[in-house]
């Protein structure tokens, strides 16, 4: 029989009391928004990892997801649109002892912040990035995003999006992230575990969360109700391992069906020296 891990299981209520800022409630998230789940998973992961909240800094840019740090009782820097990772670079390099967690969205991270993103990844700073992908610019009312699927509708693509979207996790991996995972918000355990792994990883960890936005995205794309979007994710997502198996051994028909699927899971794990570590070594050499 497996030995039980001595992890303190606390109630959701206690998580709330311990980590959330009462004075910031009620939150700004719409009904059916996945951001509450993402915040929840992050806090569970933080609780399980036992992070010292006096030594943890949350950063974000602009957008719905970037409002998350405001609800957490900790030091936080709610910065300019797309630039959270550049700010985070300053925080982490100036004080490597701080745990640095960044919340960003698909528009914030891949649109206006694309350049900061690839360079922060390339540097392999020891930070954890939770990128909430809802395929849309939600805060501004539903404009097309760099992640909006082709053919989907947004206020600035009223006849359907004609641009191919970015794959955020592929970008992270290609730029050199040392931990990359993607999960939809309707699965609680996997994202919590991935955020935990991300916090443990001494390098750039990227966790992409597929999160529903019924208000700005769903209602223009035949996902009017929350359950429509959840069902969509359930149907469209496939575990990366399963995907690869089908690609190798599946029938032609099964392989054809993969075209429309979104891969989920842990895509990449790697051990590499972080930038701060390399900088500390440089300082030692110069002493």
């Amino acid at each position: 029989m497996k030995e039980k891990k001595s992890v303190n299981i606390v109630s959701g209520k206690k998580i709330q009391e311990k980590y959330l800022r009462d004075e910031m409630m009620p939150h700004i998230f719409c009904n059916g928004c996945g951001l509450g789940n993402v915040l929840d998973y992050a806090l569970w992961a933080i609780e399980k990892e036992g992070l010292d909240m006096d030594k943890t800094v949350f950063l974000s840019g602009i957008g719905c997801s970037s409002r998350i740090p405001g609800y957490i009782h900790a030091d936080a820097l709610h910065t300019t649109h797309g630039r959270a990772l550049a700010f985070a670079t300053g925080v982490k390099m100036a004080n490597p002892d701080l745990n640095v967690i960044v919340f960003t969205g698909d528009g914030d991270c891949m649109g206006i912040g694309g350049n900061h993103f690839i360079h922060a990844v390339r540097r392999n700073l020891d930070i954890t990035v939770i990128a909430v992908n809802n395929y849309i610019y939600g805060m501004t009312g539903g404009q097309v995003a760099p992640t909006t699927p082709e053919g989907h509708f947004a206020t600035t693509s009223p006849y359907g999006n004609i641009e191919p979207p970015f794959n955020m996790s592929d970008m992270a991996k290609a730029a050199g992230a040392t931990y990359v995972a993607r999960w939809p918000v309707f699965k609680p355990h996997q994202p919590i575990n991935s955020i935990r792994e991300g916090l443990q990883n001494k390098g750039f960890s990227f966790i992409e969360m597929l999160s529903p936005c019924t208000t700005a995205y769903g209602r223009r794309n035949k996902f009017r109700r929350i359950e429509d979007l959840w069902a969509h994710y359930e149907e469209k997502t496939i575990l990366a391992e399963d995907h690869d198996q089908i690609e190798k051994f599946g029938t032609q028909e099964e392989r054809k069906a993969l075209k429309d699927k979104i891969k989920i899971g842990v895509f990449h794990r790697e051990t590499k020296k972080s930038l701060e570590q390399r900088y500390q070594e440089l300082l030692e050499e110069l002493k």
Binding site: D75, H78, T89, G90, M93, A94
Partner: protein, 385 residues
């Protein structure tokens, strides 16, 4: 500053007297002031600052990082400052334009940072290797919205070093970005500089109350009332810092007129209340002057030449150099203007500070403008007498 750290810095800087250029002087001043973080992006004619910082800062345990662009350079120093670091960046016109967004964030979040702008001719790419003073208004109004900057303008290499030290002290004291405006000419001109024995430094005030009593954007408790105490990240105070309009607790308050009014006016007044204290003017031969040559930065070197030419001719000309540009020395300009018949503003742009002088002067004000990367000749300035 802690003596052992200053000794370490002085050791890294080398001989007490050195023949260095303005960009190096910025670095020397920064280190002497206790700068321990530099984030930047290369740009002519400011790249030498990044290069020298890359060489010097690691020797004294500081952090240097070349970011992916100027937006990131500015962002990185704000992030570093929130951990308590004394952080700076350096750039020139095109980079200064890119930094404006996060400069606004630094004002809104009351983050102490220093920026050296080695000005070149613009707009756009302009004349990258040639000096200008075309960013003076940008240093005051470059980012959107209402704010008040502190901006210094040195005219010698020694002063460039000293003003960089001063900029760090003012940034710490007032909790806002401070700009040191040099130009390509100052940046690349070499002069003999004496590294000071002692350096007076100012450290931002930290809260003395426990976290539960700390009001991050409220009244200052034991320093200036309009400058709240600063709790660096990681010290348990759990500060929420946002570029949104916020209340005294730091929480968004975006739809209340009074919250915004209170916040912005306090942020502006914390500087303008000390306008007289921040005013810094060098005067020569002003006692009996009928004509005042108002200038700053590199143009003031030509104005000094013009002064001696005019005095040799027996003309009653005086020299009035602005060392602090922003907050604008309203009273000093106004009082001076009452004693002269005419003011000539010599500057290396098509007229920026000229308009401010005109706004507060009670006499005739004319502009002596020079652009294109060359300085005024003394006679060009005197042509306006």
């Amino acid at each position: 500053m802690m003596t052992d750290y200053l000794e370490k810095v002085k050791k890294a800087l080398g001989p007490k007297k050195q023949f260095i250029h303005g960009d190096t002087a910025v670095c020397y001043g920064a280190l002497l002031a206790g700068c321990n973080f530099f984030g930047g992006y290369p740009i002519t004619p400011a790249s030498e600052i990044a290069e020298m910082m890359a060489k010097l800062l690691p020797k004294v345990g500081g952090v240097v990082i070349q970011m992916e662009d100027e937006l990131a350079g500015m962002a990185s120093i704000i992030g570093a400052s929130w951990t308590g670091a004394k952080a700076m960046t350096a750039t020139s016109g095109p980079g200064f334009s890119l930094m404006q967004e996060n400069i606004g964030f630094a004002f809104m979040s009351e983050t102490p940072v220093v920026l050296a702008n080695v000005q070149r001719s613009g707009p756009s790419t302009g004349q990258p290797t040639l000096g200008a003073e075309g960013d003076m208004m940008q240093a005051r109004y470059g980012s959107h919205g209402d704010y008040q900057s502190i901006t210094l303008s040195p005219n010698t290499i020694q002063e460039t070093m000293e003003f960089t030290i001063k900029a760090f002290n003012l940034a710490e004291e007032y909790r806002c970005p401070v700009f040191v405006m040099t130009s390509a000419d100052i940046g690349h001109m070499r002069e003999m500089v004496t590294i000071p024995e002692e350096v007076e430094t100012f450290e931002r005030k930290k809260p003395k109350v426990p976290p539960e009593e700390y009001v991050p954007f409220g009244k200052g408790q034991y320093g200036k009332e309009k400058v709240p105490e600063f709790a660096p990240f990681g010290t348990g105070y759990k500060t929420y810092v946002t570029g949104l309009t916020h209340n005294e607790f730091g929480f968004p308050a975006t739809d209340d007129q009074q919250d915004h009014d209170r916040l912005i006016r306090r942020q502006i007044e914390k500087v303008t209340d000390d306008r007289e204290k921040l005013t810094d003017i060098e005067q020569r031969d002003m006692e009996d002057a009928d004509v005042a040559l108002v200038s700053y930065g590199l143009a003031s070197r030509s104005a000094l030449g013009a002064l001696s030419v005019a005095r040799e001719r027996g003309e009653k000309v005086g020299y009035f150099r602005l060392k602090t540009i922003w907050p604008f020395p309203i009273k000093a300009i106004n009082e001076m203007s009452k004693k002269v018949d005419k003011i000539i503003v010599a500057e290396m742009n098509t007229g920026q500070i000229y308009h401010k002088v005109k706004e507060y002067a009670d006499c005739e004000v004319v502009l002596s403008s020079k652009i294109g990367g060359e300085v005024h000749t003394p006679n060009e300035i005197l042509a306006e007498v």
